[in-house]
């Protein structure tokens, strides 16, 4: 906003000849910022304001909606749909942890061990992005089909007994259970974990590994004391890039889940498109946004990586 209002006044014909060029020079950065700021206003600030306003309106499609400062919508939405909120956080959290466990070794491999295969592996990591999110998710219905080899293997190893016991699967199947949703989320957001991890691992000076080895650190100690701490910026941004979209996702829950795996994204979708309850949908979106913001802030504080990021 500042840049818009501080735009230089049109040059008056009486203005002294010497000063304006310097002044204009000083304003150049602001002018260059203008498109970006306009973009933010039109596509971020305004929709946010509309959304905020919608969330405190009441009415119906026929009668129209009016701002009545009906904040109760927030409370109603939260008390009605807290299980879905909780589920979103839980599933997104589980998927993030899985992404980290799967993504870290892979990113490590690409950064330090892949050699000339590095680009190829990178492409393989990104390749799924070339197809639609939906198609990728639907593919998991085939992978996890009840009569498929994956479920058979898990069954014969009695792993499904264990996951059923903790409530992540139901009986002999994986599809239409929380586990399937978490698998889908993990798969779909894995590249968001790997890419920042790779970037921060790749940036680590190889001589630091040598120095650690030279100072009596065994390879695993080197990893624990040097590599991992130095990759923290990647870990933090990777977990954020995974967790945030995963918490708002609804496609995986829709296609791979069941009635008891619906996430808050599904609720928002239903409220908005089917029930046409725009205020509740807007309020739910805001609650989700606020919840994520709080968690992220807390997380960044805790991980203490402000100066590393």
């Amino acid at each position: 906003m500042a840049a818009v209002t501080e735009a230089p006044p049109p040059l008056a014909p009486t203005a002294p000849e010497k000063k304006p060029p310097r002044k204009r020079g000083r304003m150049v950065p602001y002018w260059l910022l203008l498109p970006g700021i306009l973009w933010l206003i039109v596509f971020f600030a305004l929709p946010m304001i509309y959304q905020a306003s919608t969330s405190v309106q009441t009415g119906s499609l026929e009668q129209g909606y009016k701002v009545t400062w009906h904040f109760a919508t927030y409370w109603d939405a939260l008390s009605e749909y807290w299980p879905q909120f909780l589920r979103s956080v839980l599933y997104a959290g589980a998927a993030t942890v899985l992404c980290l466990l799967l993504g870290y070794p892979l990113a490590y491999l690409i950064a330090f061990r892949a050699g000339r295969w590095r680009n190829l592996i990178m492409i393989l990591v990104i390749a799924p992005f070339f197809t639609s999110f939906l198609i990728r998710t639907l593919a998991w219905k085939t992978i996890l089909a009840d009569n498929g080899p994956v479920v058979h293997t898990l069954n014969s190893l009695h792993i499904l007994d264990l996951t059923s016991w903790i409530g992540w699967t139901a009986g002999d199947r994986v599809l239409a259970t929380p586990l399937a949703v978490v698998c889908g989320l993990t798969y779909n957001f894995l590249p968001f974990m790997i890419l920042p991890l790779y970037t921060s691992l790749e940036r680590i000076d190889g001589r630091l590994h040598e120095a650690a080895g030279d100072l009596y650190a065994k390879p695993f100690t080197t990893f624990r004391k040097v590599t991992f701490p130095l990759s923290m910026p990647g870990v933090v941004s990777g977990t954020l890039l995974t967790f945030i979209p995963a918490a708002g996702d609804y496609v995986n829950a829709d296609l791979l889940g069941s009635t008891d795996t619906r996430m808050v994204g599904n609720v928002i979708q239903t409220q908005f498109l089917r029930i046409l309850d725009y205020p509740t949908a807007a309020a739910l979106s805001f609650i989700l946004m606020a919840a994520i913001l709080i968690m992220v802030t807390f997380y960044i504080r805790r991980s203490g990586t402000e100066d590393l990021v």
Binding site: R207, E210, A211, A212, D214, L215
Partner: protein
């Protein structure tokens, strides 16, 4: 320091390194660095000196040969099992740890619990007591360098390896740190192996210098020995400046060899000639620029008998304070360099003047004429750039 213990000896036998891409960095090499010495590996970039050092540290696996520390063979030991520490080029300090933890790193890895006293003492030694809780990026280059040294020394290694430790510092700081390192080495008495491309640094600090070129050691010896009595044109040119003249063996008289160069005759003590000398054979005759006296042609008669002489014309002269450097155009050598102390300056010695160059034959050295006369020159210029 006066111990006869040889556990700090470093013995390299037939060690070599060829990379997967076929590049041979080090050719089979035998080298012994005695316990407690300050040993320098000197050479231009790409000569194999760093690779040699890394093979001692265990960071590089030798293609052939063996590395011994004292009586223990360490060729196949991983770095963290070798009683050797390294000061890395550009230090490789851990950016996420403060100075204290950087220095304590090695102690902690060896399971030593109470590190406080030791670390503080070590930081005192390198005069960084105040900086203990700062992060590496908050220190200056010189301070970081001292942290790197402290981090390695605190482990009391048998051998300390230094890989171009002063390369990132400016000239003044470099001089200061050279003295500092020398002081520390004398104090702790550990074997230091120091890799550098700076011949002056090698000569001021080291007891023994090995000059490396293209994966082999050209010559090994004390700095003075290397300077006064180079065995190859590479050493002659790489260490300081040498004037090299192509000459033909004429006769031998006693311990001296008489050579013909241009129209005149030069005398070379046989002991100072590393090349085979058969009558009629070619030899490169060398002399350092500061050994030469310059006399105006008009006063040629005043020059004492028995000195080697060459005539020429001053092509260029530059005054650099303590001395004046002349470039002489002579029939035997187109660019003969002479450094003259500015004691009694002869006002006639200006470009264009005809002069006689003369020196004590004892300062002459002879080299095998089958080598490249300019070997080592380019490298010096490159590194100076």
């Amino acid at each position: 320091m006066t111990t006869t213990d040889n556990s700090g000896d470093v013995r390299l036998s037939g060690i070599s390194k060829t990379y997967d891409n076929g590049f041979t960095a080090v050719r089979p090499l035998d080298l012994t660095v005695p316990q407690g010495s300050f040993f320098a590996l000197l050479g231009a970039s790409g000569c194999g000196k760093t690779t040699t050092l890394r093979m001692i540290a265990g960071l590089e696996e030798p293609t052939t040969g063996a590395v011994h520390l004292g009586d223990q063979e360490v060729t196949n030991l991983p770095p963290y099992k070798r009683p050797v520490n390294t000061v890395f080029q550009s230090y490789a300090l851990f950016p996420h740890l403060d100075i204290f933890e950087n220095v304590a790193f090695g102690l902690r890895r060896r399971g030593i619990k109470s590190v406080k006293k030791q670390v503080e003492d070590m930081l005192e030694l390198v005069q960084l007591g105040e900086q203990a809780r700062k992060k590496p990026h908050q220190l200056s280059g010189g301070q970081q360098q001292r942290v790197a040294v402290a981090r390695a020394l605190i482990n009391h290694p048998k051998v300390l390896l230094l890989d171009e430790p002063l390369g990132a510092l400016d000239l003044k700081l470099r001089r200061q740190m050279q003295l500092e390192l020398k002081r520390i080495q004398t104090e702790v008495g550990i074997t230091f192996i120091h890799v550098t491309h700076d011949q002056e640094e090698a000569m001021t600090m080291a007891d023994t210098v090995a000059v490396m070129n293209a994966g082999t050691v050209e010559q090994l010896g004390s700095p003075a020995d290397l300077y006064e009595n180079p065995q190859t044109t590479f050493v002659a040119n790489f260490l300081g400046t040498s004037n090299l003249i192509e000459a033909e063996v004429d006769t031998k008289s006693g311990d001296d060899i008489v050579l013909r160069a241009g129209g005149g005759k030069l005398v070379l003590p046989e002991a100072r000639c590393s090349a085979p000398t058969t009558a009629g054979g070619k030899v490169l005759v060398g002399v350092r620029p500061e050994k030469i006296s310059l006399t105006h042609a008009d006063d040629a008669g005043e020059i004492a008998e028995g000195r080697n002489r060459i005539t020429g014309r001053i092509a260029d002269s530059s005054f650099i304070g303590v001395s004046t450097q002349y470039v002489i155009d002579s029939p035997v050598c187109p660019e003969f360099e002479v450094y003259a102390q500015n004691i009694d300056r002869d006002a006639r010695l200006v470009p264009g003047a005809e002069v006689v160059l003369h020196w004590n034959p004892a300062h002459t050295f002879g080299l095998d004429a089958a080598q490249d006369i300019d070997a080592g020159v380019a490298e010096v210029e490159e590194d100076a750039a």
